[in-house]
Symmetry: C2
Subunit: 391 residues, 2 copies
């Protein structure tokens, strides 16, 4: 019924990549496996392989080649001008690269040594790490967790289409493992013309609830898509976060308007570039709109507060095929007795109830619950329980 129809549904009909091997292909790959050169993927590349295979990184069909790499790093676009903001690459050492032949297959193992995929190696190329760091992460400091990964990885990128050997149920959250083709189908079944995606890697507090609901007022549905791939070690564990989302949905949301699904992608902490990336991934999952908060996907002080919102202006209207919805930090305002942001409340600083993540973690460790203006009591109780178990 509802739809601001900012991007027309037709604009988002990106066709989805499917690089999950058929049973026949899998049998063939298994036959050859022992005779193929082998690369062990790290957690991030394993996650990238999965995201490519399930269509989450459409239109990518594999790790990108040099022409696409240059386009992405320099202009946020693939060689054919399609917007893409983060290089999805597979890097190996000079020695390993020298041992591999272009035109051949490479066996991909996950960090535990399990055979999980195949790379059809088409191209090997050197790349400039400092340039990638500067252009993609806007810093060359190796203290930046995304830059550190680039500096630590091999000198040569391997490019070519990939195949995921098979799609296994998620070990922790099988019922929330909803791939792009499925989420699109679910949205269509529910008759949603407009859907807003929300990326998160934190427990859901009232500030998030407020922003999500603001967005949900003008679209048909919410795609709540927490990232459960590799994150920083001080982030709250994914299982605790998932329980908080469940509690929130059960008590405070109209459930027929929400799809909760896990995002298997890894965080890069690339701030503005990653906000674009997150939006493009959510378009693949069927979203028409995407929430971009302050310092989205940032880390430390590397990005300006609004950089991740302003970067969307570098694309023409409709070019991304998904519309950002930009929000400020929210707080409980004692003057208006409502959640609000500085855009909607005339409150003074003293009238704003807002706690830092650090402060909340401290309270929870001491067995104190944050106030109901900050966190729903049921969520606070769950976090307190989890913090006391782990501390």
């Amino acid at each position: 019924m509802q739809s601001p129809v900012l991007s027309h549904p037709s604009e988002r009909e990106t066709s989805l990549v499917n690089r999950i091997a058929t049973p026949e292909q899998k049998a063939e790959f298994l036959d050859k496996a022992d005779h193929l050169p082998r690369i062990q993927l790290d957690a991030r590349s394993t996650s990238d392989l999965e995201m490519i295979a399930i269509g989450g990184f459409s239109p990518l069909t594999g790790f990108i080649n040099q022409a696409d790499y240059n386009g992405v790093v320099e202009n946020m676009r693939l060689a054919n001008s399609t917007p893409w903001s983060i290089p999805v690459t597979l890097s190996v050492s000079e020695e390993v690269a020298a041992s591999l032949k272009e035109g051949g297959l490479v066996r991909l193992d996950d960090p535990s040594g399990r055979f999980v995929g195949i790379l059809e190696l088409q191209e090997k190329y050197h790349y400039d790490k400092t340039n990638e760091a500067q252009k993609v992460y806007r810093t060359t400091e190796d203290k930046h967790p995304g830059v550190k990964v680039v500096y630590d990885q091999g000198e040569v990128n391997l490019a070519g289409p990939v195949w995921l050997l098979q799609r296994d149920p998620h070990p922790q959250f099988p019922s929330y493992q909803i791939d792009p083709a499925q989420s699109r189908a679910q949205m269509q079944e529910r008759g949603w013309k407009t859907v807003v995606g929300f990326q998160t890697r934190n427990p859901i507090h009232r500030a998030h609830e407020y922003i999500i609901k603001c967005a949900l007022e003008t679209v048909d549905g919410l795609f709540l898509h927490p990232l459960v791939g590799a994150t920083k070690s001080d982030d709250i564990p994914a299982d605790v976060r998932m329980r908080c989302y469940e509690i929130m949905l059960e008590n405070y949301f109209p459930q027929q308007r929400v799809i909760l699904a896990i995002n298997p992608a890894a965080m890069r902490y690339a701030g503005p570039r990653e906000a674009i990336f997150h939006a493009l991934v959510r378009k693949n999952y069927g979203c028409t709109h995407f929430i971009v908060g302050r310092d989205h996907a940032g880390v430390g002080d590397y990005y300006g507060t609004y950089d991740a919102q302003q970067i969307f202006e570098e694309f023409a209207p409709g070019e991304l095929g998904i519309e950002p919805m930009k929000f400020e930090h929210a707080f409980f305002c004692t003057r208006t007795q409502s959640m609000a942001t500085a855009k909607t409340s005339p409150s003074s600083k003293e009238e704003r109830i807002h706690l830092s993540g650090t402060k909340v973690r401290g309270m929870l460790r001491n067995g104190e619950l944050p106030p109901p203006e900050f966190s729903r009591p049921e969520v606070a109780a769950e976090l307190a329980r989890a913090m006391q178990v782990t501390s």
Copy 2:
């Protein structure tokens, strides 16, 4: 800083019509006035003349001719395909029409007999009242206040460009008389790239505040534009409503994000067609977005709850040059302890505090104040004061 940039600023650069006579033109018209045929306008046509002259009805430069009339009534578009949903016409009796010559000037007097404008009469044409009623108002019943006006007016439409003799300060609200060129300039000065317009003819309760603030979270500014032209006799008087807006802005809004201005247009109560009309008028005032609630501009049971939202789908994306933001009715939800709508709250009926306009008027007449979940106390007090003076 903020901008969903749904419609690109360039799309809304409609040039504004200005049909206010220059001092030289005015002197010339005054010279001729005594020798010109004279028509006395009713309140609505006087308001139409003003809206045309100040650019609020751009691209109209006068009362529309037969080709435009047919396009508007049949297809919601002028003869040149520009979207326009309500015929802005000047009707006279057969006798009066017969006395007027195409190609001549006609003196326009307001209901008090004051000489206020000039019509350059280009065309006279008959029109089909029943067809206009059915197409524009979706009913031929004369109980509909908009249809009644059509049935009561003359049989012949006079068409041609108009001139407003001079722009007088508004007798009641001179400081809120902000014409389209001025509001656009103010928005530009404030650096607003995106502005949401809110049309209202009712006192502002928390439900409106909630919807407005939801919209304001994702755009740069709010253009609060209450209609003070002709309305139904049982609507709350404009001066009381204006005091309520002032109270609301002083206490509950960040004032630098709001422009409050009066809309001198007359209500037609044409529901869906009028929602489009209201949006187009707000585009002229500089808005990029426009709030469309349930049964917007409706009256009685003539329109389906969502008709005024769905009609926007009859225009291609970008065609109108302004984006609708569609909202449900809001209420205070005791479960989430927040304002909400059925789209964002899982509450049962018992958990929703919502009062009808009739109920609230009854309470106010009896000296009772509606609860703070329904109306801000300062606004309720002002309404109570006004109701007791008038009842």
